[in-house]
Symmetry: C2
Subunit: 226 residues, 2 copies
DNA sequence: ACCTGAACACCGTTCAAGT
DNA sequence: ACCTGAACACCGTTCAAGT
């Protein structure tokens, strides 16, 4: 169920527009995940024939590109500052806050080409922060590639250890023992992650900021070296 | 069209097995992209009723998990060595070579939970390299999160500059001029990327290794500091 | 000229009927 | 007991018919 901002009768009265189509599409994805966002379902949510959407959106791909750009447009811009590290850090964490509100967004962002106006404006803002901090243009270019998805506030975690971190010490030990023969290093990791206080509970935000700061330090060293 | 390893009659004679289903599924994805991989198409490729696949695969998700694990299984293991940097570097570049042979794989790897035996064995190998190099277990854990998809040899590039790098200097200048008003920093970047020899042609491999080495250096500093 | 909705060519999966 | 294929509940999109 999607939390609609208007009653069905209002919905039907308001004329369709690309903006409204995209806004409701984001609502549908927020409410039911990206798989819930079909042209038919979206038409139903807007109280119109699904075919009516094609007047405001070229096709499904165009719809996805549109909501991706809308999401990036939610990120408020951080003004450039002479001290680039805190400025870029704030900017990226602002993007992260937006992404946390749309859990489906990272996946879609990754599989769509990012060429919308809001995305370009965001990249321009990032480059502005780097330039104000004294980055030559080629280092700024490397930096964009280096950050990858991190520039938008998320990092693709390939292995999910949230399950193992939910285990207590005894359960971790049992799991570790069961795989110790074939996967000795993963077993050791499972025990360490399970230890109370050992790794601080595997907070994703902690991991994200850890990675950010390590990369920042490496970049600052390159920048200072010229 | 998929390059089949056997003729239709052979295909029909050979009994189905999970391994064969997964192998042909990878072939279909290699040949036509991940969207070409449907249960119906896969059944057709194997010369069997689509429903017959459900004896060897729980459902479509299980099929995807299976081919993801099969791809990771293609990566040959690098033996641990006292010098962790070159060992890890070789291991990751080996993974990258495998991914370049299956362009659809990174996207699928990102959206599936990675819990198959080959994935776990691969992570165990990575942890083995780090441990042999003197990484304490908690730093090794941070390292996995830090690398993210890079551990499997690919980096999610959010903006695609392959189009702009294909332009010649005059075209870059014209494009830059057209956006200079609204996107001054992106415009400057476009000119720099377009310059012959300025950035070395935007080689993806160059960018990947650049990022790898920067992260390696940061980790080595943390490791040495204890 | 505009919009609607029937229809097409697909999906993944269930389930009853047949061997 | 096993397998098949019809059928269900969906897709995105085309296109002809209706207003």
């Amino acid at each position: 169920v999607v939390a609609a901002s208007s009653t069905p009768s209002e919905t039907r009265r308001t004329p369709l527009s690309r903006e409204r189509v995209l806004r409701v599409a984001v609502d549908v994805a927020d409410g039911g995940g990206i798989d819930a966002l079909s042209m038919r379902r979206l038409g139903q949510e807007l109280g119109v024939d699904p075919m009516a959407l094609y007047r405001h959106v070229r096709n499904k791909d165009d719809l996805l590109d549109g909501i991706v750009d809308a999401i990036v447009g939610e990120i408020s811009a951080e003004p450039p500052a002479p001290d680039w590290k805190p400025a870029l850090r704030r900017q990226i964490l602002q993007a992260r806050a937006v992404m946390l509100g749309h859990p489906w967004a990272p996946r879609v962002l990754e599989e769509r080409p990012l060429t919308g106006p809001a995305v370009l404006a965001y990249i321009d803002a990032i480059l502005g922060i780097l330039q104000a901090g004294g980055f030559p243009i080629d280092l700024a270019h490397h930096t964009l590639h280096l950050f990858g998805s991190r520039i938008l506030g998320f990092n693709q975690d390939l292995f999910d250890d949230s399950a193992s971190s939910r285990l207590d010490a005894a359960e971790s030990a049992a799991f570790a023992a069961s795989i110790a023969g074939t996967l000795p290093n993963v077993a050791r990791l499972a025990i360490a992650v399970g230890h109370d206080g050992g790794l601080g509970g595997c907070d994703d935000d902690v991991e994200f900021v850890f990675g950010l700061d390590l990369i920042f330090d490496g970049l600052e060293r390159l920048r200072a070296a010229g």
